[in-house]
Symmetry: C2
Subunit: 202 residues, 2 copies
């Protein structure tokens, strides 16, 4: 259960091949992807997965990290924080998040369903969500610092609300099920957040 899968086992190239294969397979088949399929697609033995990642959860945890690195989530973060104002920063965040969600939705869904499987999974998922909350908190703090936070909210409450409103499940429901485009999502959710959390100027 949730073996740590020693940080450094094997050839990094093999590891990457496995992760890429897993990624594609998750995109195609969702949460029911099989390790045997990942292995065969990556051109390695099923056993190799266990050697590299310990178990299914270990693979998923590594996959999330792999994807973040592949999509350059760091630079996205920088772009959001590079906004001239806190309010603009929040708007950019919503926009960026919408774009990003579209790319990782399949994997996110798997993560969500596996979220309670074991300790390692839970930790990995919470960690991810905690980082997101922290980011939003920083943005809200900046808005508050600039006097832009609507009255009636503490900074913590505002950040948590922004976080809850922009959860992946909500993004998925609005775009995948109700047919909103990523752009419509960004525009409308932004409008909600602006009206609810940002003080009216003038």
């Amino acid at each position: 259960m949730s073996s740590e899968a020693s940080e450094t086992y094997g050839d990094p190239q093999t590891r990457t091949r496995i992760l890429d294969a897993a990624w594609r397979l998750v995109e195609e088949t969702g949460a029911e992807f099989k390790l045997a399929d990942v292995a065969s697609r990556a051109g390695v033995s099923r056993q190799a997965l266990y050697l590299h990642f310990g178990d299914r959860s270990g693979l998923l945890v590594a996959l999330v990290d792999h994807i973040d690195k592949s999509l350059g989530s760091e630079s996205l973060r920088a772009e959001v924080f590079g906004a001239p104002t806190g309010v603009e920063s929040l708007r950019r965040w919503v926009e960026t998040m919408s774009w990003y969600s579209a790319k990782i939705d399949a994997v996110t869904r798997v993560l969500e369903t596996a979220q309670y499987r074991d300790e390692a999974m839970t930790a990995a998922y919470r960690n991810r969500m905690d980082r997101r909350q922290g980011l939003l908190r920083a943005i809200i703090d900046r808005i508050a610092g600039e006097g832009g936070l609507a009255e009636g909210w503490t900074q913590e409450e505002a950040a948590q609300l922004a976080y809850a409103v922009t959860l992946p499940s909500s993004w998925r429901e609005l775009t995948r099920e109700l047919g909103w485009t990523a752009e419509e999502y960004a525009d409308r959710i932004w409008k909600v957040l602006e009206r609810a959390l940002v003080s009216r100027v003038g």
Copy 2:
């Protein structure tokens, strides 16, 4: 897969015993509950579950229905619609939903994770969500009819936003993970919806 489990098999009492056992077990153990455990807790054979519900998905679908009936979701609906105004109706809906979510969260979570398992599951889940959307749409229409809908939204958009903001996953995150009480949830989410969707009077 997703056998229909003939609408009327066996003793209704047995059926109820099984569903109650399943309910409690889901509350305790979450999505990984085992059919064998449900059976033994209900005091019936494992086979009985298959005779009554066809398969795991069939049991889940029946469980949701069973719970709705047990909690008298019909009367709740009536209370929400009995509000004097559309805006008050929406406020009551949020409040009621918060209370209701607390009772069925465990089952909802199982539903969510099982949502893509097969056709029957998907249909049952979507059906549930569609009803909720319909309800919100009716409330929003009433608000619009009373001239209370904020400008910038179509009625459909407003209803879908209200729906997305009040998704179970969001409720869970805010209460279970971030520690909000059901009341705080209702108050704050209502405030968000009001500011975002309801036109300012005067």
